[in-house]
């Protein structure tokens, strides 16, 4: 079979790097195009959905765009396949309590430009700011209820905007402080978890303790000693997620390092190291670091239950 892939690679009709036309022609076309081609939240192609349904769907687009924007920032390189959804589900804590996690994501890279989070814009296309690298989440089970809060920091300073996403009773609600209208969408738990999987900081899932235990039990992480971090004893757990690039004649991998509290297993920091490969050549690297600022289990009292809903 490997011979077959060698033969296939040898049959590539493009032998040398091609010379694309200069970018100026494209830029000229962009300049000539009317403002309607600018990305605008709330625009949707197709007119088959009519009336209030169309309005509702149009209103939801900014939220989804925002979600995708956050996913691009927060979830880069994370898997979103059903097995991850299952993992995340399995990693949730027990019912009767609320898990509260605050985390922060940072990046460093070589060879790949533009790591800044994208600028979010309002309905009129005016820039609002960038999504903060810090997010806060409250999760409860049976049935699944969840709220995640993101902050959008204006570029030129000023009061930050907030975006709250909640899920309960099969409905995802998005409230953005810059929009008057609350946006809602019916989603199955599975579909919602798939969206959330993209947004989750790191693979342990909403309950990092259960998540790390699951990864250890599954043999995905191995212990690599103990160390002290900011005066705290932490266990170092390492793993590697291989990508088998047989066809490309190379293989790559994401190296993962978990630093967890030596006594409670609460994750303190997760580092993902990726190598970016283009056509078999290493062109850069990307390091993502998720730092857990808080992890707590709250009793499901009425006051704490309120944290799961929009404020």
């Amino acid at each position: 079979m490997t011979d077959l892939m060698h033969r296939l690679r040898a049959a590539d009709p493009i032998r040398d790097e091609l010379e694309p036309p200069p970018v100026d022609t494209l830029l000229a076309r962009i300049e000539e195009s009317p403002p309607a081609t600018e990305p605008r939240r709330g625009r949707r192609r197709g007119g088959r959905v009519a009336g209030s349904a169309a309005l509702r769907r149009r209103a939801l687009v900014p939220a989804i765009v925002a979600l995708l924007a956050v996913a691009t920032v927060v979830g880069l390189g994370q898997r979103s396949s059903p097995d991850v959804v299952a993992e995340a589900r399995a990693a949730l804590g027990s019912s009767g309590e609320i898990i509260h996690v605050v985390s922060r994501m940072s990046y460093t890279s070589t060879g790949v430009p533009e790591l800044d989070p994208p600028i979010l814009r309002d309905e009129e296309g005016r820039p609002l700011g960038r999504v903060s690298d810090r997010s806060e989440r409250w999760t409860a089970l049976d049935p699944l209820r969840e709220r995640t809060r993101y902050t959008v920091v204006p570029e030129g300073g000023g009061a930050p905007h907030t975006m709250d996403i909640t899920y309960a009773d099969g409905i995802m609600r998005v409230e953005q402080s810059w929009m008057k209208e609350l946006q809602t969408n019916k989603l199955s738990e599975e579909k919602y978890e798939s969206v959330r999987g993209e947004l989750s900081p790191g693979r342990p899932g909403p309950d990092p303790v259960a998540g790390v235990r699951a990864l250890l039990a599954g043999g995905e992480l191995t212990a690599a000693g103990e160390q002290t971090l900011d005066g705290r004893r932490v266990l170092r757990l390492v793993g590697e997620e291989a990508h088998y690039g047989e066809g490309a004649g190379h293989s790559g991998s994401t190296k993962v390092e978990y630093l967890v509290d030596a006594f409670t297993f609460v994750p303190v920091r997760i580092t993902y190291d990726d190598v970016i490969v283009d056509r078999g050549r290493t062109v850069g690297s990307l390091r993502r670091v998720v730092t857990f600022e808080a992890f707590e289990r709250l009793p499901a009292t009425p006051a704490n239950e309120a944290l799961l809903r929009l404020p």
Binding site: L4, R29, S81, G247
Partner: protein, 187 residues
């Protein structure tokens, strides 16, 4: 300079840098699938989409661009199909009229080339190309993304718009089918 102008110029710069990094690879992707004449159009359309959706372009942009280019190609195939269907209708109608007068028959329309690799007399290993042409497009694409575009399974999965596990299965199946197709070609 007005802040909007500064922002636009920075966006143009980022776009130009994206094109510089990946333009040649996207052009090669298109050339392998549609031939030289139309490949530059596919390249331009792909990057115009990238401009319109510039805030969605991920850091690892290449698989995303391949996915867009694949959609552009498929749209072209659909348009071509509609155009060919119309031509075939017209041709059939004209053949029917001719047949009525000369008692002749119309030749069946030529099969669509768009679902196959472009004709290339200089392409190496014509037998392999013939075997590739016999595969379903989805299988062929899995093979080409890894072998010709040189993507790892994870990135190829992103370009194909499926999970890595799905892509793994697809690739495995495609390799088996290619081997079978080659075997029957050699018989």
């Amino acid at each position: 300079m007005h802040p909007v102008t500064v922002m636009r110029s920075a966006e143009h710069e980022r776009f130009a840098s994206l094109y510089e990094r990946h333009g040649a690879l996207v052009l090669a992707y298109a050339r392998r699938r549609i031939g030289a004449a139309e490949a530059e159009d596919v390249l331009a359309e792909t990057f115009l989409v990238a401009w319109r959706r510039r805030e969605e372009v991920p850091v690892d942009a290449l698989p995303w661009l391949y996915a867009v280019a694949g959609n552009v190609l498929r749209n072209r195939v659909r348009s071509e199909r509609r155009r060919t269907a119309l031509s075939a209708c017209l041709a059939a109608e004209s053949a029917r009229l001719e047949a009525e007068s000369a008692r002749g028959g119309a030749a069946p329309p030529a099969p669509l080339a768009a679902d196959q690799l472009p004709a290339d007399a200089d392409a190496p290993d014509p037998r392999l190309r013939a075997a590739l042409d016999r595969l379903r497009p989805i299988d062929r694409e899995a093979l080409l993304l890894t072998a010709w575009e040189g993507l790892s399974t994870e990135r190829a999965a992103r370009a194909a718009g499926c999970s890595r596990a799905t892509f793994h299965v697809r690739l495995h199946r495609a390799r088996k089918r290619l081997a079978q197709a080659l075997e029957s070609e050699t018989r």
